[in-house]
Symmetry: C2
Subunit: 582 residues, 2 copies
């Protein structure tokens, strides 16, 4: 049976199941969410008003046995950036959407009675929408437990915490992973959009349904073998990530002088040793946790982990480099266990670790918190943000807005979104991505760290300008395509270095749908997605001036290399000028 | 002796006195500040960073005996709107600048030692810059008294209060009036720019200097007579404004259904009677205050007043319609004495009455304050904003930012600046001005209320779209020119209706400089100013999407006329499209 579009209107709590329009049939993940948002959402609308839409779409390969294909995309006009947003996630939702034949879920409107929050429950070609007052104000873990009890352990669960209910811009959408823990559609304030539509939780039950339909199962199986082998044999996806998680990066980026420290004042951190992946792995082993763990079924990289406290009790999982950097080097917490405790709290609250960490680090330039005061950070989150006090509202609004309230100049944001864990002055290819991706400062949109630091796809000196514009452009195009397949971004490492990897991935897509894509088609797909997204942003009022890093990085030298951000506006504009004119 | 450019660099506390470049010679007021900002400020710079500049320039006729010529312009890149800003003020500074031969004062840079605040003292071709720690944290009234004691009663004083020191976006720059009371460069966060440069107060001493030089004194005197007569004979500038102050408007706008009430939910206010100009005038007469008072020497309109409390003790002066509307109808305070008390407090703090009032009214949609709670409003200002608490920072950041923190949709701002006291849905010409002026929502940029409501310059039905685009465009062009002369905006009323008024004004400019401007030249001047400002804004990243009213006004009907904002984007873009292409 063919896939369908599931459409919910929160204004009158109605729904429709629609055929997939011809022009959307070849799309999935980011390609589909961005196309739907660009087609159906007025770019001038208020992102938290009745005319924005919240769209979910699994990747093209989600729901199959393909390794690492479990990413689900979420799209909307972002209340944080004011532009189009796609934020993708692991967990179980992508596979379940795909198995049920949900090509995309589109949520429109705002309830006329906004005095409560709602639960949307989706089964095969049927949707129930009803108030769920008993979950208002609850954390994500309680919501997940409640829904697993109500339905079954395998039901897909997507929910928001209190900050999302309060439409805070740091709020994300949490998604249950295979063990009932959480992953997040992290960036861009997607939780606030869900909150504006008064939706506390969405569940999708596909228990009775198997894998998504495959047109040529034999060819698919064959290609998946080659693809899986490439993933496992690559030194990064096959060794570094499984051994130390993404947190393997602390020492690497610190040594490169590109670990943003003390609100982007320095490029390395004296206490990197205390928070690095090696220390983390040691703690986990000593305490009986798990160093490897997959965020979704079918993951062969297993970069996630289960991190216990000193007594061996569960503390957190999905303990990522970005989180550890944000609260470690940038905010100054040197106690990894405290960072883990904050990580768990933030999962429960449903707030983006990057935006929250960047905001708190920036707040060390105000009287709200001092650098290194982890207890205060925990308190602010638990007792201020989660309760919506004035201080909580300030921190909950993200770094850009906090900067405006306090008249700060050293505000590390692009398109009002906080800059992640790689210093753009010292890893210039990554800076080009932050500036020019339609998403606002986002490392996954074009991970130039790969070639600037990890020698993946060759090597381009991170401190020099040469080659960075092209590198970022090519990675952004490839990432847009990968984000449409449902594949985890880490497939990029073997894809850049193993000539068999990308053809195998394309073979799987062809075998799944019985089509004949080529590598050129994939490039065109990526380019087309970025073109659509840039056009939306332009209509929403963003310009080339938004494709810039913060001004202070142009005149403030970053130790230890004492480098500034030296790309001109014209150079940055050249990244996409050919595409805009197409 | 010819006029000079006075230039201060706060980075090294140095100054220069420069000749006026040829191309600036014919400019004054807004025409000059906008030209200087557009020429010298990088449009992409951070408005509170080292690369913004703060520029002051008196009008072309300031410092002469011309009636109502005492307006001084202040320009910068606005930290509130992100675009270019001109904000002009009465008080004594314009005349003193002109008498001393200061064509413009340009302040650049930020001190390397930012641990203190500075005092800039200007005399003829000499500037002193030194720390003034004893005034840090003081209110404007204390600063004014201090400086009058230190120098003399006539010294020009321009200062910021605590919110300006804290770089809050609602902060303004206060200017001493002839009686030692205060007027303000109100809008756009100019106080934050002054605060970012660590300047607490600027004084200008011109005691020994007379009137500005006049090329043809006889012709000037003659023209001024005609001009003054026109001002005095006009029913608005000659009768309504002197009798009731600008607050004459409460009843008029309320009856038109265009008085924004309860955060722009309604177009009229049940308690208008309690706060209207007639009630105000009655109170003043009963209590022995003054119904008429000029904000600057040479004013023949005298729309200001001195408002005493029930015991006859001074409460406030310069008690304007905009202020009374903001805290009255829009925030719900019905006690005019309490509004007066808040007005005085805000003068002392140095915050913009419109932005502050719009922000507090919007805050009635949160848990910060309830509609009608004037005591709470006073408390928030005095104990939160003035102390920089988290609540104070939120309110101090203006309506647009407060809206972002609380996820609000009904946020009445254009270019992030609060909409003033005329409902754009019910007074559509004014709405066109709010949307399309480069200044952000600002009533003085093109006061269509004149022709929509006051039958000045003809009549155009405020509820209909016909004729509004042209009306607003013509008024915006005329206002840009008037804002360059140093004239108060109220000269617009006789200028629109008395055929002798505008030629007399032009004659005065010609007599002052010995030149031969025509009415067409004045139109060209106005057009050119707007063109320069729009070009700056474009380079700063603003687009036609910023030339829009808030989306909620398009779908929420405003009682009592049940009207929505129904201009399309294309229609609004047509206002300046011919100019952008020139």
């Amino acid at each position: 049976m063919s896939d369908k579009i599931y459409r919910v209107n929160m204004k009158d709590l109605s729904y429709k199941i629609e055929d997939v329009p011809e022009e959307w049939k070849g799309l999935g993940g980011r390609g589909l969410t961005s196309t739907i948002v660009a087609t159906e959402v007025d770019p001038e609308c208020h992102p938290l008003g009745p005319n924005n839409k919240l769209v979910f779409a699994p990747g093209l390969l989600s729901g199959t046995i393909a390794a690492n294909s479990g990413r689900n995309s979420c799209g909307a006009k972002s209340p944080l950036t004011g532009g189009i947003k796609e934020s993708n996630v692991g967990g179980t939702s992508a596979g379940i959407f795909a198995k049920l034949g949900i090509k995309a879920l589109i949520i429109e409107g705002i309830p006329e009675d906004d005095s409560t929050f709602y639960h949307i429950h989706i089964t095969k070609e049927h949707i129930e929408i009803h108030p769920i007052p008993e979950l208002i104000g609850k954390g994500n873990y309680e919501v997940v437990d409640y829904m697993m009890d109500k339905y079954n352990k395998k039901v897909a669960i997507m929910s928001i915490g209190r900050p999302g209910e309060m439409k805070m811009l740091i709020s994300n959408i949490s998604v249950k992973d295979p063990q009932g823990k959480l992953r997040s559609h992290g960036r861009g304030g997607m939780g606030a959009v869900m909150g504006s539509k008064k939706i506390k939780v969405i569940t999708v039950d596909a228990e009775k349904y198997k894998e998504a339909h495959i047109a040529d199962p034999e060819k698919f199986k064959e290609a998946n073998k080659v693809f899986t082998k490439a993933l496992k044999e690559n030194p990064i996806s096959g060794e570094g990530l499984p051994a130390f998680g993404t947190n393997v990066l602390v020492n690497i980026i610190n040594e490169a002088g590109g670990l943003p420290t003390r609100n982007f004042k320095y490029g390395n951190f004296d206490h990197a040793e205390d928070i690095c992946g090696e220390t983390m792995a040691e703690n986990i082993k000593e305490r009986g946790g798990k160093t490897t763990h997959g965020c979704h079924a079918g993951c062969v990289i297993q970069c996630s982990q289960v991190y216990p406290d000193k007594e061996g009790k569960y503390l957190t999982s999905g303990f990522e480099y970005e989180m550890i950097w944000a609260f470690g080097a940038n905010l100054g917490i040197t106690d990894l266990d405290l960072i883990a405790k904050i990580d768990h709290l933030m999962d429960d609250m449903g707030v983006d670790a990057i935006e929250t960490g960047v905001t708190l680090s920036l707040a060390t330039e105000t009287d709200l918190i001092e650098y290194g005061d982890g207890e205060r950070a925990y308190e602010i989150l638990k007792y201020e943000v989660n309760r919506g006090t004035p201080t909580g509202r300030i921190v909950g609004s993200g770094a850009g807005n906090l900067g405006k309230l306090y008249g700060l100049v050293r505000v590390p944001v692009v398109k009002n979104q906080g800059i992640p864990a790689y210093e753009p002055r010292a890893i210039k290819g990554q800076g080009v991505t932050y500036a020019t991706t339609p998403m606002g400062a986002d490392h996954t949109s074009g991970y130039a760290v790969a070639t600037n630091i990890l020698n993946s796809g060759g090597y381009i000196d991170p401190l020099k300008k040469e080659g960075q514009l092209e590198l970022s452009r090519n990675l952004q195009i490839a990432s847009a395509a990968v984000d449409s397949t449902g594949m985890c971004i880490f497939v990029a490492f073997p894809a850049l270095d193993d000539p068999k990897c990308l053809p195998a991935l394309i073979d799987m897509i062809n075998a799944r749908f019985g089509i004949n894509l080529t590598a050129d088609d994939v490039t065109s797909l990526g380019e087309n997605i970025i073109k659509i997204e840039r056009e939306f942003n332009k209509k929403a009022g963003l310009t080339n001036v938004d494709d810039r890093l913060p001004e202070f990085m142009k005149y403030e030298k970053l130790p230890p290399h004492n480098v500034v951000w030296d790309f001109t506006g014209e150079e940055l504009d050249s990244v996409w000028s050919y595409l805009d004119e197409k």
